[in-house]
Assembly symmetry: C2
Homo-oligomer: 394 residues x 2
Amino acid sequence: MNYEKLFADRTKNMGANIIREILKVVSQPGMISLAGGIPAPQSIPLDLIQELTSTVLKKYGARALQYDLTEGFIPLREALVPYLANKGIHTTVPEVCISSGSQGVLDALGKVLISPGDEIAVEAPTYLGAISAFNPYGPKYVCIDMDEEGIIPEALEKVIATHNIKFVYLVPTFQNPTGRSLSLARRHIIAEIIAKNDLLLIEDDPYSDLRYRGEPLPTFYSLIPGHVLYTTTLSKVFAPGLRIGIYIGPEPVRKWLILAKQGIDLHSSTFNQALAAEYVLGGYLQKQIPKIVSLYKPRQEAMLKAMDQFFPASYKYSKPEGGMFIWAEGPQEDDTEKLYWKCVERKAAYVPGKFFFPNPGQGLATMRLNYTMSNEDEIEKAIQIIADVLKEGL
Amino acid sequence: MNYEKLFADRTKNMGANIIREILKVVSQPGMISLAGGIPAPQSIPLDLIQELTSTVLKKYGARALQYDLTEGFIPLREALVPYLANKGIHTTVPEVCISSGSQGVLDALGKVLISPGDEIAVEAPTYLGAISAFNPYGPKYVCIDMDEEGIIPEALEKVIATHNIKFVYLVPTFQNPTGRSLSLARRHIIAEIIAKNDLLLIEDDPYSDLRYRGEPLPTFYSLIPGHVLYTTTLSKVFAPGLRIGIYIGPEPVRKWLILAKQGIDLHSSTFNQALAAEYVLGGYLQKQIPKIVSLYKPRQEAMLKAMDQFFPASYKYSKPEGGMFIWAEGPQEDDTEKLYWKCVERKAAYVPGKFFFPNPGQGLATMRLNYTMSNEDEIEKAIQIIADVLKEGL
C-alpha cells in the first residue's frame, strides 16, 4: 500500500538521528569509544538483583507484577522522599512521581506544554534526548549562550526579553554534553531571573550524585520550587535498563503530566519500581554511589592527564568536578566531524560537538569525550590517538 | 506562578478520565467489583520470577540492566517469532518490536499518524486506552456500527465512502468492552475492504490467547500483512506490571514508530524484556496459558449462569468464547450510570457502558462486566445484586 500518505505533519520534526548513523562504526572490533554516554557495566550492582528480587516477591507478592498507579509505586515514592531530602530537595510522597526514565517525563512535558511554534529556551549545546522528546511537538529553540560556568545570566535575560519563552530547559550540573555546572552565584542570579519573569524551569539533574571533587550545589528546585519541574533518574546510580525516572513539580503541571502518562504507557514497570524501592530502602543506593564515584574518578583523572599531556595547545577543555563527560573546543578552522573519521580509522572515537547544538553551523570545532565506558589505559591510548589526529589535521 | 498560561493547545483533548472518578468507590471494603479490567493476581506466575531472574543474570549479566535497542531486546524478539508463528503470525526478528505495554505503541501510532482533525474509524463501543492514547493528537472519531459478530462490513464501507479515514482501529477478538469477536466470514470480507481501499488497520489483540471454547480465528495480520499494524501484549499471559507490548507491521510505519519511541522512552525495560525472553524460551508461557484459561473459564461460566438465572428478560448479553468481559444491554429507558450508584450502595459494581462510546449519548443502557478479578461465588452474588437493581429500577 501507499504508506507515505499515512504520516502526521509532525513526523517532519522527527528526522533520523544523524549521531546514531555516524556512531555505528564505534562497535567495530578494537575500537576505543569515548563516544558513548552510558554508565559502565561495573557501576551496576548486579550481585544485588537476585536478593532484591527475593525481597520484592516476599514483601509485595503479585502486587509487584500487577497494574499500578500512573503516578508511581507508592513504596518507591516513600523511599525517595528521604533520599531526595539528603540532596536538599524537601518534598512529600504525592509530589514525587515516577516516569519511564527521565526521557518519559521529557516527552510528557513536551506533550503537555508545547504547542507548535512555542519558543523554549535551551543551553547551546544541550542534551539531545530532550530535543528528541520535544521535537515532535513542534517547538522553536532559542539558544542561551554559555561559558565554562554554564549559561550566562545576561544571555538568559536577553532571550527572555526578546522572545515569548514557554519554558527554560537546563541541565545545571555536570551537563551533557559539556560537563559544565552552573556556579553557586549564577544559580542564585538565574533563579531570580526565572522567578521575576514568572517562568517555568525544567531542571534535568541526572548526574549530580556523580561528584568527584568540590561541594554539592543547590538545585533550582530547592531555590524556587514553585517555578521548577525537577527531574532525575536512577539510570546512573542503579541500572539504566530498569528505566526509572523521577520528577517533582508544581501540582498543576504534575496533574497534566500524570494524565498524559495514562495515554502514553499507563504506568512504569511496577516490578522495577519495587526493586528500586528496596534498593533505596535497604541503604544500597547510598552505598553504591561512592563505589561508582571511585570507579569514574580515576577514569576522569586519566583522561584529563592524557589531554594535558597530548592535546594540542590550541584546544581548550573543561575540568568538571563530576559527571560523565569532558568537552573540548579547538581552533575555529578545525572540523571535528571530518577529523572524527580519521580517528575512527585509527580505532578511537568521540562525538563531534556540532550535533548537540539545536541550530546548525555552531560548535564545528568541538567534541564530547566520555570516560565512563573505558578503563584508564584505554582512555590514555584513545586520547593519544585523537591528539595525534588533531595535531596532524586533515 | 500563573500555570494556566503554560499548557499546550492539545491539553484540551486530554480531559480527566471520568470512568476513574466513578470507579473510585469500588475499592470500598466489602465491594464485589465486576468493574475492573485487569488479570487475576492468581494468573501471574509469581513462583517463576525468582528462577527467571537467576537465569537472566547468569545468561545476560549486566546487559540485562543496561541501555538497549529502541526496537527491543533481541533475545526476546527471537523468542517471540515461534510463539507468534503458533498463532498463525509468520514474521521475522527485525519485524517484531517491543513497546511499553500495548499502550506504548498506541501512543506512538497516534504521534506518528494523527494530524489534528484526521478522521479515524473505531468500533462503537471501543477500547478506552486507545482513545486516551490518540486524543492528545487531536483526531476525529468516526464510529463503525457493531452487532454480536463485531463491526458490520456494510457499516465500515459506508464510513470509508463518506469520510477520509486515516486508519481503522479494531480489537477483533474478545473485544474490550464487549467481549465480541469478528466471525471468520466477516474477517475475510473486512480484510478485503481494507485492502481494496488501501487502508491501514491497527489490529489490537491482547486477549486471543484467553480462549475457553471454539476455534482460533485468523488475525488480520495473517490475511493482509501489508495493511496491518498488529499489536499484542504479555500483560494478560505473564504479568501486566512488566509492561511488555509487542508490535509487528510494515517497515515504513515501524521505522517511524521506532524513531518516535526514541523520544518517548528510549526503550522498554531491558530487564523485564530479558525475563520475558526466558519465560517464552523456557516453555513457561505455553504452560501458563492453559492454567489461566482454567482459572477464567469457570468464572465466565458462573457469570453467564447467574445472568441467565437472575437478569431481567429485557437484558440481552454476549456469550463470548474467551476474553475478560461480558457486555449487557437493557431496554432503552434504563440508565446504567444511575443504576450503578444503586448497585454500589449494595456493594456490587460494573462499568456503565456509555463511557466506551467516543460520541456522547450512545450506550446509555449498556454495561461491561468483568469476571477475571472475582471468584465464582462472588460473581454469582454480585450478579444477583445487579439483577435485583435492574428489576427494581431507580
